[in-house]
Symmetry: C2
Subunit: 508 residues, 2 copies
């Protein structure tokens, strides 16, 4: 496709306008490696500056907009996405190689619109405000919008975590904050179509047009400048630890809150008594979970832990066969594949042994053989940092601890994680060990699971899609689960002796 | 007092033990400048290391301690403080020069024990857990202890914000976190007596002895190492911006939450119509508030703003006379006085004019003449950063804006503050201007006040003792106000498909 194409426009201040671009990029189809015939701009700082100024004005306007109107926008947006679903799904499929079904069309898009509608309900209910009235002291408090929010979406969820439609977006909007979305360049056209749907919904519901803005790509320096600009309230970021830590440093230095979801190995423990009865079954469950969607989920198991023994050997044998038999799908991009290979090589270099996989799969697109690594507890304990390198993709590493004591030491050395899972004997034969494992694991993870794989993050008020550093930047907050996720984009406001007519209505 | 005295011991791991000290310090009475005949250690890292290890063990033990027992400790501690009140108040009076009455004995100590009892009630009620049960998805969440908490107390509240007895301490303990208190060296003996009371309460209620630990002083490097140690959950700090930012940088880099209360000018706006009627009255209120306790409160007004005119001149005349007539009390230390003078000099250098004060007061102790500065809105706008330097003590600077438009521009340039106050005409003559002032000020402050001075922080669930950076490190959190303040020391935990008998009782 060598025909000249127009560079896509950015959505700033209620207009689709030409970016003040420092360059362009052309997305490709990772299933074929072919260019998709579209061109998108890399924004200069002037685009950000314009968006920030418009966002500040929108934030002021939103202060006096009724919650019902914000809810109406979120619902209208969900509807617009459904009306354009075929085109959006097709765009995402072409840009990410993720399957149309069962994924983009019947799982991720419905999840995204459901999330927007749950957000609309939360806007109406207003429980996120958590008003407190102390009449005796004539003192009142509530949570209030934090200010314009910048959202950096990840590569792996073109809808549900997209900066212009996902969980951070919805949470920020509920609390009355305009959003500046930094779309992920790997699904730029998908993001463009979604932003077009948002623009239609903004217009039909009469919200300030700059309530939602979107750019496609920035250099690192401008990204850092954006999250630390005095005009923003907070940022949300989902992506790699490397990129996340750079943004965190910039935001921290400026005193600006940033909520990051950066990396997680999601360790799964298989306790010995249970493993004796379930080696085959659990091996297949693990193989399914770590290869689903080519392992490109924040909560796919990247690490498993078992205690040495016959059952563990049988488990590993079955696991090797199961993983080797999985037909690998295309990864999100050539760099996703390069990074996966680099991580797997680094893990081997640090002491892990390759049981299967570990190489590119020939043919069209960017596919990588599903990979299984094995390492002893002793080796892990001698290089815990190097052996906790995330391999984002269809890979899992099993740590075989010499005994229960070593298993506990391995757990003590785990970094913070989004999830931690324990499989154990149904009848209670592992309960004594569970009682020793749980207190260690519980402190390290945001979500503790029993007897099921961690992949998949339900949109539920009881969800925690968060966890201790470096899984996220702060263990008090969750990125998924309305209304709890809204708290990230709020500031506490107290009113002391303020005259009644000057109070927000819900505090009078 | 040149007799040899024993160096005080540190309270670590349930023992009063000799510090592994790198030096000692001898507190003095700031009202007289005389040494108090006591010697305290500057701890080396080994003291911190020992305390951290003990805290980790205590944190594990606390996980299975009933809330009732934690509540019992907090109440027993309050009682022990009351039993030793005379000695504690006397110690604090000698170390800080703050008056016994009406302050240490009848205001701050009762406030502190009240806070501990409110914390006990919150521990019993357990609302800080905020449990959510989603039975359909078999998913549950609650807030849980974040891990050992380090608390750095400030110089200005020997009881109510002390690391071993104050708001951060109480909030951390309610959530089941052991506390390592870094006492402020300016009230080391007071802190020692309080820690002794805590030790008795720990013993009588059977809590792990390392639930509370205390050291007196650390060098900057060890302070930074402490807040970033992998064994801690979070830190709380109240003090100067300079010290706070160093700790923030260390904690941020390590991915450890730190809650800071660093500085605030607490601007007070006097709107023009009201000022015409109340110039004298408001001037006296401001003079009282900014000299109370020698201005050594986090929320004393350090800045006032008015619009040029006859009433403002009358106000300034009255204010000059009132402030000049206030007998200055001793400041907390010689360095407090040096820093106050340095700040006042810097403000003059940056464009402010001295109306009264600006010098040391001769005689015993560390007293400084109550000081009033004046600066034009234009001058302020030309150096807003330099002219927002905090002068911690009995000083206030009045910005005189040329007109309403300049007043609004001044507000736009304010940094984040703990409080912001608006005085206005009772009958509504200033309401139009209030409506333009409020949206700007509201975003900049944690607590918005009408018609009363901000000094004084009620212990109420509706209090916000927090605000945007650099007043604090994160605008979502408050340091005062139970139960909201507890949230700082919690991590979100989700339980997914966890077997019923393995769930915390309150989630079953």
């Amino acid at each position: 496709m060598q025909t000249a194409v127009a560079t896509a426009k950015v959505w700033i201040g209620g207009e689709w306008r030409d970016s003040d671009a420092e360059g362009v990029f052309e997305p490709e189809n990772p299933a074929t490696g072919e260019k998709l015939g579209r061109e998108f701009p890399v924004s200069r700082w002037s685009d950000c500056d314009r968006a920030l100024t418009a966002a500040v004005a929108a934030a002021h306007e939103l202060e006096t907009v009724a919650p019902e109107k914000i809810a109406g926008f979120l619902e209208a947006y969900a509807k617009e996405l459904e009306l354009d679903a075929d085109a959006i799904v097709q765009a995402a499929h072409e840009e990410t190689a993720l399957p149309v079904s069962p994924r983009l069309k019947d799982v991720e898009l419905p999840r995204t619109t459901d999330q927007l509608r749950q957000a609309a309900a939360a806007a109406r209910q207003g429980t996120w405000r958590r008003p407190i009235v102390d009449q005796g002291k004539n003192l009142r408090s509530c949570y209030a919008p934090i200010g314009p929010v910048v959202v950096f979406g990840p590569n792996n969820f073109p809808f549900a975590f997209n900066g212009v439609s996902g969980g951070d977006f919805a949470a920020a909007i509920v609390a009355g904050n305009p959003v500046i979305a930094k779309a992920h360049p790997l699904h730029a056209y998908t993001s463009q179509r979604m932003a077009e749907a948002a623009a239609r919904a903004l217009q039909s519901t009469g919200l300030p047009p700059a309530t939602v803005q979107m750019i496609y790509k920035l250099n690192h320096e401008n990204g850092a400048r954006l999250v630390s600009d005095p005009r923003i309230g907070a940022s949300g970021f989902t992506g790699s630890k490397g990129a996340g830590l750079k943004l965190k440093h910039a935001a921290d230095t400026a005193g600006k809150p940033i909520y990051l979801e950066m990396s997680s190995l999601n360790p799964v423990l298989f306790l010995p008594e249970g493993l004796k009865e379930n080696a085959q079954k659990w091996a297949r469950e693990l193989a399914d979970s770590c290869t689903l969607g080519s392992g490109q989920f924040c909560t796919r198991p990247n690490l498993a832990v078992a205690v040495a023994g016959e059952a563990t050997e049988a488990f590993l044998q079955e696991l090797t066969a199961a993983i080797a038999s999985r037909e690998p799908h295309a990864l999100l991009s050539s760099s996703t594949r390069d990074q996966l290979h680099e991580s797997i090589s680094a893990l081997q270099h640090a002491g892990a042994t390759l049981l299967t996989g570990g190489k590119n799969v020939p043919g069209p697109g960017y596919r990588y053989a599903s990979t299984l690594l094995r390492v002893s507890g002793k080796a892990f304990l001698s290089a815990p940092e190097e052996l906790q390198r995330e391999a984002f993709g269809n890979e899992v590493m099993v740590i075989v601890a010499a005994d229960e004591a070593e298993l506990l030491r391995v757990l003590e050395h785990l970094e913070g994680q989004l999830t931690g899972t324990v499989y154990s004997a149904a009848a209670g034969a592992d309960d004594d060990l569970y009682a020793r494992v749980e207190p260690i694991l519980r402190r390290k993870v945001g979500r503790l699971l029993n007897d099921k794989m961690p992949t998949g993050v339900a949109v539920s008020p009881a969800m925690n899609h968060g966890g201790p550093y470096p899984a996220t930047g702060h263990p008090h907050f969750t990125a998924v689960g309305i209304p709890t996720s809204i708290a990230r984009f709020t500031a506490l406001h107290s009113y002391d002796n303020v005259r009644p007519e000057r109070l927000p209505a819900f505090l009078r």
